[in-house]
Amino acid sequence: MRQRQSYQGVAVAVPITVPYQRYCTQGAHWFVGQAVQALVQASGLAKEDIDGLCLSSFSLSPDTAVGLTQHLGLSPRWLDHIPTGGASGVMSLRRAARAVQAGDADVVACIGADTNHVDSFRQTLGSFSHFARDASYPYGSGGPNSVFAFITANYMRTYGARREDFGRIAVDQRSNALKNPNALFKKPLSLDEYMAGRPISDPIHLFDCVMPCAGADAFLVMSQARARDLGLPHAIIRGAIERHNAYASDPIMVQGGWRRDLDDLYAQAGATPAQVDFVQTYDDYPVIVMMQFEDLGFCAKGEGPQFVRSHAMTHDGSFPNNTSGGQLSVGQAGAAGGFIGMVEALRQLCDLAGERSVIGAQLGLVSGFGMVTYDRCLCTGAVLLGRPA
């Protein structure tokens, strides 16, 4: 494979969160609008200075990103619509960074936004994909719960993971969430409470599941020179990968696509997993977090259970993971779920994380995972973000 160009000179800045709500009567357009307004206010740019837009949402229908330009009075010269859910944050960043490097856009707004009406989730499930409609939704209509129940059960049997191991991930994330004012979950979670959660689709229990909600997360991508001119604290992209439909011949998912591009990611950054100060994993279910620890190089395949037993995953622990609380404890705001790790990583690297800071963090990893069209998620991506030199 040809050596990829670096992302040198690109800045990622202005992490924005439009506060999450369990249910909301407004449409996704409202959340996108709020995100754009907040990006403008926080950056000091004029709306007209945003000349690139990369949007991810499940609830804009029948609009796509271009409809939002007219809705919000934007006139970008570069536009992308990335309806890839949990991988959309990493994917937008990669695309926006290249657009900025190439000069196709100067300032790209990357936004993940979704609303959540009372019946939204059920309706989304039934029409999520051709394969879901034909081959998974008619089977109990449990949504991703049943698919991840299979993956979790198979992982537990194969590698000896126990429910307590997944519980450690959920409990530590909740502890992080208590220091995040945007988290929808405000109460501490003990391992006993986790274990006592009611079964949803065993071995998946209540606290293994994310809560769908409404909200938006966003950031800006521009040149480092521009960020400096604007006086914006920012992070730089040390390396970034994505992969779709990897390991398709595995009868059931035991590894994610990150694994295929792992060496490329660290080689580009000139770093090793040991140098990573925090990770923001995609946490639709704890088993996937554990797989990311393995597939992103922090431990060998099958060592995930032992790894979580030997680490504290709180922001001040030995292996900070999902320092915002992640989707498990903040909420899953649709496509914003693909952005929550990105804005949190930016806050950590721009010293905006307040009392949940990872002290002295220089290098962070954000991972994305999206689109359960049938029996597994298809999109994986990861980015290493660092402080500017």
Partner: protein, 417 residues
Amino acid sequence: MTMPLMRPARKNPILRTPQMNLPPSARSRVAMGLTAAAAEGRFELQVCQDCATVQYPPREACVHCVSPRLQWRAQTGWGQLLASTTLHHSNDLFFRERLPWRLGMVALDAGPSVMVHLHNDVGDAPCRLRVGARLDRAGQAVLIGFPEKESEHMADDKMLREMGSDPKFRKVLVTDGKTPVGQAMVRALVKAGADIVWVGHAEPWKKLPGLSELAALPQVTMLPLDLSNERSVTTLAGEIGGKVDIVINNAEVHRSHGIGNRTGTDVARMEMEINYLGLLRLSQALGPALRGRAADGVTHACAWVNLLSIYALSNFPSHGTYSASKAAAYSLSQCLRAEMRPAGIRVVNVFPGPIDDEWNQNMPPPKLAPDSLASAVVKALRDGTEDVYPGDVAHEWLQRWRENPKVLEREIAAGGT
């Protein structure tokens, strides 16, 4: 091991009768191939004609070589259970009302991994099992994981019972008890564990052979029913409409000859009166009652069976007007099926070749024995299939008709059978 289903307690008349909520019924057009095969009791998957890859979920191109030349081919269904789960929460009313519900992920020996409704006799993963396709209550195909070894009461599995219309403990109407087919049907239903079999007879004063033996069975109740008489049909519906779970409409008028060997329309009119209009009258009288009881407990209303004929597909000139009446009935049954589907009531069409009865006296063998026809209907009810072609003649006709209906027409016109 599945425990045998116990006779359900009598319905509490104070309680509201639950209404039917169907499982998700939307499918892409390409996925309907699974349904088309399951409707006839087969499990077929797409197989690439260029590279032989077996694939699932259904696609528009081969996942391996991207060829569009895909054909639906029968599968043995053997595979390995990779994982199972019991669902305690569902976003869909049908499942929500039936939790807990067991599901499995299976690696088929043929290649693909498939999500299945899992029979309770299937053990924990990893284990061997057999996957089959069934129509669910929405009339769409779903895959089922069956245990490697069959057991005596496995049909009583809660999930599996939802997929079929097992006559066990159900109340059945057979619209004509005077014919050999009707009588075989009644006996087969009694043997299958039907709770009550109401047997219609149009002319109660006629002491036809076999009727008194039939009436002596404790499960059987004879009722006057003349499908050519609207009042007779509505009277019957008033009497048993709120109780009947399965309707088997086997009443028919069958005379030989086509157009030129008879003068006038009296015989053709009688054939249409029973075979077509009789079905229409019965559907109008009993259809709404069945629809209203589609979720009424473990022995809810579930199925409607029409005795058609393979000659409904293509006219058999020596039984020409009969063929025409059966073609009309076939068309009407598709309308009935469409109207019953929102309630989850299965409409089963049976397309026999010549039956070994008095009206086919001059037909050469093979002819379908009434007992064979009756067991084919009971099997169809149990397996939840909706198109049944019992016997060798029916199978052959169907194959020829599917290969080329024009060729079949010419062959039959030239004196073939």
